[in-house]
Amino acid sequence: MSMDTIRNSFDGDSSVLSWETWNQIKHTERFVFLSSVLFVLLFSYTFGRAPVISDVFQGYHGLAMTILIWSIFALGFNLLLGQTGLLSFGHAMFFGTASYAAALFAIHVYNEPLLVVLVGTLAAVTLGVVAALILLRLHTVYFSIVALAIAQFLYFLAREPLVEVTKGINGLDIPRAPLLGLVELEHEYSGLVGTLLVNNLYIFIGAFFVAVVALITRIRKSPYGLIFKAIRENETRTAFVGLDVWRYKFAAFILSAAIVGLAGGLMAVNTQFAGVERLYWSVSGDIVVMTVLGGLGTLAGPVIGTFVFFYFKGIVNGFPTLGNYWLLLLALSFTAVVWAYPDGIWGMLTDFTAALRDPKELLSNARQRISDLVSTGGDR
């Protein structure tokens, strides 16, 4: 590098240079991977035990694990809705079925957490194949509603006719078993590891979280990521360039089912329980809220949405007086965020950070946004 180029890069706009570098780095797989590892390392601590911060959140370790698992659920759901544009109102079917399959395998066949999670995932994939054959013939609202109908069918099936197998509303209890027959999941660490990660169960769940983030990042960077988006944008056009839209939708559906099934299996291991409420329609609704609130089609969005949802459900719920209205407060925040920022909380954050680099733009963006809202009545 000559002195001139060096001087140019400093004399030019050094802040622009660094932003450009940052823009390149933040999209690399390595950066996403390291971020997700860092997130898992710090999440439980900042949420549950860190001085001052944790008091603000009033969270605790168990809820941190629940949030990680539901984040996997939301990431899997987002692959179908955000990436491919298919809105399923029945994704509880994969979560609940995987949970049951995991529990039944643990109770009747062999109780080893890794294998149990795998069985849950495979059960969801199997169900996904059958559901996709029915659902992918349908479009728009019919797709959504029939997905809901299938999930509700499974809910009632598990609740009454299959009560011998599922134990109905009582559900199935799974004894805690060591990982690979060696590692006790509830073993608690001391020292730094103990402060950050607490126990093996958290590491077990956190590892799956990191793996799912890495998998989804890779899918987004693969031809599939592009083709899923193309289908979302214009299905007819995608078919006319010569792509078999049905097969790609099928692939998106199965990948989504597999990731949600993984979450369902993990939930069974985490709670040592599988019950019929995981098949219930409200689970399918909650995951839509989490994903849309956080930011459709993004990587961080579903995780943020899940966090906010559980923050309201688990923590605002406990506030004096206000707590009784947590669902109302969540609904109001949801409406407010999605009205002003169709890309959800993550879209709001990226808008802010982009604008912070250029305050003039912040002002003009805000003006634009307000005039948009006034002129369209927020109808976007």
Partner: protein, 253 residues
């Protein structure tokens, strides 16, 4: 044998006959145009050939293959490309990504299991995408969202997507509609390049009669679902039925 051939192609919507026994043959390497007044059945003919609609009766063969009953993606994979009348682009994808989607279809076929490989590791696809970007002169705007392109560029991107599918036969549905004179001229030049340099066969639907008479080897004239005339530009210009049905209609368009 002709590259594309229809025999007795008929399409009825309820009681309405949109296509009435259309026989056309397109030879390899030629540029044919389809003209006709609004509602003559031009779009229906293209949609029926490319698999969006299934004919009520009649045959369509492409390079000896029967196209009737095939899905649009299968027909596209055979080498029949299409650019749409309204810019049918993928709005939230970048210009490059729009073309890349079609390049993947051309390089990898209709479906392939490769969701664990990065897009940027497929060199042939990247090369083809860059080549198309250059050909269509959109490389300076490659990283813009397609939706933020000016109208003329959207139309050119539409053609670029059609090109990126690497077709042997390309249907172009009013490629110059709404373009400025300069853009129109560029598009006409591009059509010439496609014929000579790329060796494509082109099936053009166009309202601008100057372009049609200028570039076509042969012209088909459709009127109320029936093919009323076919021939070279000179023959069509002088054809009495065409003059009556179409050109004689006053403004010539």
């Amino acid at each position: 044998m002709a590259l594309l051939e229809t025999r007795g192609l008929t399409k009825e919507f309820g009681g309405l006959t949109a296509l009435d026994g259309v026989d056309i043959a397109v030879e390899e390497g030629e540029l044919v145009s389809l003209i006709g007044p609004n509602g003559a059945g031009k779009s229906t003919l293209i949609n029926t050939i490319t698999g969006q609609l299934s004919p009520t009766a009649g045959d369509v063969t492409y390079a000896g293959t029967d196209l009737v009953g095939m899905k649009p993606f299968e027909i596209a994979q055979l080498g029949v490309g299409r650019s749409f009348q309204t810019a049918s682009i993928l709005p939230e994808l970048t210009v490059r990504e729009n073309i890349q989607v079609a390049s993947f279809a051309a390089e990898h076929g209709s479906f392939r299991v490769n969701f664990l490989r990065r897009r940027d590791s497929f060199d042939a696809v990247q090369e083809q995408t860059n080549e198309i970007l250059e050909t269509i002169d959109l490389d300076s705007k490659a990283d813009m969202d397609a939706q933020s392109l000016p109208y003329g560029d959207k139309r050119r991107l539409e053609v670029a997507i059609g090109l990126a599918t690497d077709p042997d036969l390309l249907f172009m549905d009013e490629p110059t509609a709404g373009m400025s004179p300069t853009e129109t001229e560029m598009t006409v030049d591009l059509i010439g390049d496609l014929l000579t340099d790329w060796g494509m066969t082109i099936f053009l639907v166009e309202h601008d009669m100057d372009i049609v008479f200028d570039v076509s080897d042969r012209i088909f004239t459709l009127h109320q679902g029936q093919l009323i005339a076919r021939g070279t530009p000179e023959e069509i210009r002088e054809h009495p039925a065409v003059r009556e049905a179409y050109l004689g209609g006053g403004d010539g368009a």
